[in-house]
Symmetry: C2
Subunit: 541 residues, 2 copies
């Protein structure tokens, strides 16, 4: 690795002189701009490399003593980092929510860094602050559809916020529940409110044993982080069983009543607008009724599914979301914005004031600095990426993207159903579905087997699914994720399933057929398949 | 604004076809690459535009219905957004911590978006996970200098974390105090620990009235967010007065003892490694002793000053930081990385386990997924920017940058001291200093004035400083921020001061001389200066 000269002149050069057009870094740039799929398929190594091997390239613990030439470093990035990255643009990478992005984000990313604004305060962001407020306003309108006068009044009001821009859905969910907690345990009579006086004092003042948050078992793990961080405790995340993948409003009401009768207080019901694991949507409208009856906050985690609101055809699936007090939407999911763009939206623009804070040198009283009501402090201008996407796609563009994803998922579900050796576990409400591989004869056997036999067989099939998922991933051509689910088909115990997210617009029907064929091939060659074939169900067989 | 066609073909094009080389967006890119200072000075409008005017460009609240051509949109970004951004690369923008960045970050930003990894889990980040762990390890070594075997053992251990990568210092501070809270109120005997059982139950079990965090009044506002969000309550942020800008260890010990004798528990002392307002460093070594004696956590918020550890000459100013249980460092400050790169480092690699969480589909037990111990969930690969910077600058490169910033600040302080009409308020410990403009005669007058007179005069000088800061900012050539400080020179009451951050390597001595000259010109032409000259001290004069 070439050592660069350590002199102020050399250092200043990296600030003042761009890379030469023939430099390695300039070449990388050019290749990305010309054909990103080609760049990735040329540089991302598909053969299996163990994590331990990769770690060898990142095992030094001391900051390198001497500078390195930029071009030499760029070579090393290609070898060590890009080669062993995940090709999220690949049409056959359908296991997670990260997908190909539109080309215009590449130059925009450069503009973002070139401007390097800090959105915590207007002094270091200027037009970015109104821009971020507008993006939050547009997303607020998408959900809540308030009249024009509402937005004229609140969009740029220093004393209000229609939402909080966050690095992702987790911070958005935490922010929403933080606002909810501070509102529900707010100042009253002589009590200063939980924000100032703390949680223990608030429980005493409001005579509360425990404060809880309710959701289905499909609730995102960020909710468990939220109740931990906010001081409620993970035991107060009341997760109700959901064999149908959605929260049952009757159960929620009963459970909530019982909880409150025991001297506790329900802080919030969290409805899910597209679960991470299966894409199901809770019955939001009915949950809004339950929240109202229980007198608690209603939050909708639509990090994944929120973008469905762009589609005339499918937006009704989120009916009731407009009654939520707060909604989480991630733009870096179905809005095709680079990683790092979450939003918490608040129905009532006053609510964010429950977490408002000031400082002497910034966020002064009356300023429009967005940092006054966000959990994060310094933030970059990611809102620009959302702004540009909203304009370049428009509502109708997003509608087409959403519709085709859902339709592709339906087509894939159909493919699975027709295949004798696959079993569709959850149909796509949005563009996510789950299924498993299971020899046809075993599927039939399961229908008549005893509970004990079913248990043994399913354990074995679980193992088959795990093996196939791992082997397919290691082969490097495609990637499907896996999870464990309670399902109505297999009520005795959760089963392990493949999980597929059809967000990448580049994924074709042929890609899907090929993925299924590859899984079938891997499965039938697997030892566990043979065991199942031979009736050896016990795990030790 | 040209409406683009709404068809799947058109939409697919933005995913599959790059922008044409002559397109507006490609031109913007090229200009950024060729000469970013020129791009910014050509496109960022320097004349005063009121925020209200800018807001007019961002006042629509509905998502645009139809798509827009990328080039048309790029034009509009230049007009509406870039024109009214802040030129953070400008050598005379010395009011905040955002500055010019080295050129190599522009292509790296493209690479980051092109790879679009999600660091919450290895399945969507692969080599980025070991890379992020290595970056945390290098920064850990910079602070704690543990032996090689330590890093061999912990750097890539699935059951440990040397730190948490965050979107910024605020999340880093919250994460550190979250870990501290969960450790100090951890599981014991029959008690499940605060993470599971919640804060109120923890107070009962540990027989604690209140849990507090202590720092000086210069503590960053994120600490107040932290005690709010974590449920301690803002009243339990014990901020001690610090006329010398640093926390007095003796006072801290006394105050802490008294606090604990009253049935409370001190969670943490937060030492500051470079205050946001004046750059002062708390006596960290002595505060470590105090924390030890009080039996509490010791956190150091070195978001700004942490990079000083790269300098052999100045690292001793942070002596004692290596005794901290946790340390916050922002790479987007003095490490010249784009906005969005904070880190919380943990001395003890076990500590992050107090906030560890799992999910079925990711973050499985035993996995090395970094998301298991971070407050954030999905995150982008910003760690690559830090990794590249550490390699391209090397320790010695950063040392030169840090040294020249501090020396430049000293030179500016000297300039101010020599000028009869300016008054240096705080000397630079690091590269931050504060001062005010005050006619020489008034400075003399203040030395002999009565308390009441001093009060009146200082109120008037405060107003002069505010006016000059605003007028200079609006003139658009340079930007200096302002704050209010308690100081030993003016013990009666806080005074308003200019605040200068000398982080931009492009800022020259001539720039500084020009800024001072401009301030003097604005000041002497200001009505308030004339009032002071004429002895009209009362504010209504």
């Amino acid at each position: 690795m070439g050592e660069a000269q350590v002199s102020l002149e050399h250092l200043f050069r990296v600030f003042t002189k761009p890379e030469h057009k023939d430099s390695k870094l300039a070449q990388i740039e050019q290749h990305l701009s010309d054909n990103i799929l080609d760049f990735l398929s040329q540089h991302v190594v598909t053969k299996k490399t163990s994590l331990e091997e990769i770690e060898q390239d990142f095992c030094l613990s001391q900051v390198p003593e001497s500078p390195e030439f930029v071009s030499a470093h760029a070579e090393s990035l290609l070898d060590k980092l890009v080669a062993h990255s995940v090709n999220t643009y690949s049409p056959t990478f359908i296991g997670h929510m990260t997908s190909a992005l539109p080309y215009f984000h590449l130059p925009l990313a450069k503009l973002l860094v070139g401007l390097n604004q800090n959105l915590v305060k207007i002094e270091t962001s200027k037009a970015f602050t109104p821009l971020e407020r507008q993006v939050l306003g547009m997303m607020h309108h998408l959900v809540y559809e308030q009249p024009d006068e509402f937005y004229q009044h609140y969009l740029h009001s220093a004393r209000h916020a229609l939402g909080a821009f966050c690095s992702g859905g987790t911070i958005a969910n935490i922010t929403a529940l933080w606002v909810a907690r501070n509102k529900i345990l707010g100042p009253k009579g002589g009590f200063a409110g939980v924000a100032k006086a703390g949680l223990a004092a608030a429980y005493r003042f409001y005579d509360i044993q425990q404060l809880g948050v309710m959701c289905s078992r499909r609730g995102h793990y960020s909710l468990s982080k939220a109740v931990d961080a906010l001081g409620l405790g993970r035991q107060q995340l009341l997760t109700l069983p959901c064999p149908q993948q959605t929260l049952d409003p009757r159960q929620a009401l009963e459970h909530g009543k019982r909880y409150q009768e025991d001297g506790n207080r329900l802080l919030a019901i969290v409805g899910i607008g597209g679960t991470t694991e299966t894409g199901h949507i809770d019955p939001l409208d009915e949950l809004a009724d339950v929240a109202k009856e229980l007198g608690c906050w209603f939050h909708v985690d639509a990090a994944w599914g929120g973008a469905t609101l762009f589609s005339e055809q499918y937006r009704a699936r989120l009916k009731g979301v407009e009654r939520a007090d707060s909604v989480t939407i991630d733009a870096h999911k179905q809005m095709y914005v680079p990683m790092g763009a979450g939003m918490a939206l608040f129905k009532n623009p006053e609510d964010a004031n429950t977490v408002r804070h000031h400082a002497q040198y910034i966020l002064r009283e009356g300023s429009k600095d967005l940092g006054a009501t966000t959990l994060e402090g310094s933030r970059n201008g990611m809102a620009m990426m959302v702004y540009s996407s909203l304009h370049i796609f428009g509502r109708r563009g997003y509608e087409l993207l959403i519709n085709q994803s859902i339709e592709k998922a339906k087509a894939f579900a159909h493919m699975i159903e027709r295949h004798p050796d696959f079993e569709l576990i959850t149909s796509p409400t949005l563009s996510i579905l789950t299924y498993r591989v299971c020899p046809q004869a075993i599927q039939e056997k399961l229908r008549t087997a005893s509970k004990e036999e079913r248990h043994q067989i399913n354990q074995k099939v679980d193992r088959l699914v795990v093996n196939v998922q791992k082997l397919q991933r290691e082969a490097g051509k495609s990637f499907v994720s896996r999870t464990r689910l309670e399902t109505p088909q297999h009520p005795d115990r959760p089963v392990t399933v493949f999980r597929v997210v059809l967000a990448n617009p580049l994924t074709s029907h042929n890609d899907l057929a090929a993925i299924l064929a590859e899984q079938h091939l891997i499965a039938t060659n697997n030892r566990v398949w043979q065991d199942l074939d031979e009736g050896k169900y016990s795990l030790t067989a």
